[in-house]
Symmetry: C2
Subunit: 328 residues, 2 copies
Amino acid sequence: MKKIINNISDVEREMLEGLVAAAPKKLVKLNGYNIVHRANLNRDKVALLSGGGSGHEPAHAGYVGFGMLDAAVAGPVFSSPNAGAIFKAIETVANPNGVLCIVKNYTGDILNFELAIEKARSIGIKVDHVIVADDVASQSTAVGRRGVAGTVLVHKIAGALAETGAPLERVKAIAQRTIDNVRSMGMAIRPCTVPATGVPNFELSDKEMEIGIGIHGEPGMRRERLTNADGITRKILNRILSHLEYAGREVVVMVNGMGATPFMELCIVNNFIKEYLYRNGVLDVYDTMIGNYMTSIDMAGFSITLLRLDDEIKMYYNAAVDTFALKK
Amino acid sequence: MKKIINNISDVEREMLEGLVAAAPKKLVKLNGYNIVHRANLNRDKVALLSGGGSGHEPAHAGYVGFGMLDAAVAGPVFSSPNAGAIFKAIETVANPNGVLCIVKNYTGDILNFELAIEKARSIGIKVDHVIVADDVASQSTAVGRRGVAGTVLVHKIAGALAETGAPLERVKAIAQRTIDNVRSMGMAIRPCTVPATGVPNFELSDKEMEIGIGIHGEPGMRRERLTNADGITRKILNRILSHLEYAGREVVVMVNGMGATPFMELCIVNNFIKEYLYRNGVLDVYDTMIGNYMTSIDMAGFSITLLRLDDEIKMYYNAAVDTFALKK
């Protein structure tokens, strides 16, 4: 394993401290917890909290700030934070307007967030949650669609509405509507290596790729012969397009790098997308995001996310945002 | 070689087309040229042009937009654009206020930019240039300090002044002052692979790293045993600190990924920097940038850039910027 780290057991803490050190006026890390919150918490709005295993950076701590999250709680690499840490994060941001937890659809995350929410409610904290499930690759598995890069757009849309002072029910409703309208799928040409194990999550020959990978190093739905960028992109788009009706709709496209994918390759992927969507009836690609938004440590590959817009989602998509990893 | 590309000969063009497709209201690619310019060129200001070989994305096309560049010209991967293409770019952005070319210190880039500038002057275009030389690793080589990630800060500072309508001489002067105050150094744990050759630029065992690498896959000043993040960071900072007097100064820190380095590792690197700079007499880390700003395709590694601030540089550092790869 080759990584630029110190002790394996300090990776999560040092990473969050290093992020906060880059924005000390805007971000605070709670002592003793892998929780990052806004330096100036606004108690007059619904608080947004997200979290999950580490290894998906800049998610989620990179999205703490005006227009997105109020706090993020990080577990060990690829493992859910425990219920105690999640409860601590809820308690930290809680205010009478309530807290909305944005949870990705993984068994551990859901279990621990629900335990923490139950405990928070038992002491009178107003708190609710939504579950993001955008990965069409895992649609037919027992757990259903996993939560992947689409989560970042849920942070963005719900975060923008929350800044207006809207009540918890409305913030939850638009988060859910964003979830209902967002779908993703990913692929990899090289696996990632979890620091604690030191070995790649799967092996791929020089001529193979994994289609439909998860963000926790899960191998894909199937292993295929590596084709060219256009062929891979078409395959992923076809799969996403078959899951929702996109004809006549405006969409936001996110081309997301998995951590070790050069920007060059992400742009080449994007070069195929717009015309192909138009040929498949999409009315307009309203905006395109290209970058590392929800990664899988040092995996080489990408995911594509399509968000269907309506007037309200579009308005909140366009709203100002000031976080370390996303600014508008 | 595993890459997400189509034909090797189309990499540069498709990458730029894919970038422009993501921001079609803001960016235009010149037909038949690997030149990207602002969709709405402002003829009432000095035009800023940069460029060089491809493979450093998002540099330079990602920095075209309000507050930074007016255009960028891209050569083949790791090779200078030819003088004809540079001339075309100068001609495209030329206006009576003049054009400032921001050139990185490489023999090919300088030769071709100077030829293009000579030709432009011969037809009456007002054009000048500066040469960025921030890489302390190559200080004692024949070419001297190479131009690396510090170039992005030169775009930023000079670009902000240019937006105010300042004359060419002043824009050139602040670009030069930024160059005089910026130093960088990089390292790699894994080499990059140029699409056209298909093989890594150098070989490293699992226990080795290269210290002082260039952004064109040049091996480092020396090969060393891979140590931990803090040790590597200290070594790089010591080298940079020995090249300029930083005591009592405010600095901007840029922790730059080389293309395949996870954000997690860049944050861990950053976690060491601030306190170490303070212990070495730096007055204040005014701001910290962490991300992939000037890459080397799919190299795994990072560089650190320190920019010394003065009141004017700080003001232009803080100015609004709206490009694909940098927003404030």
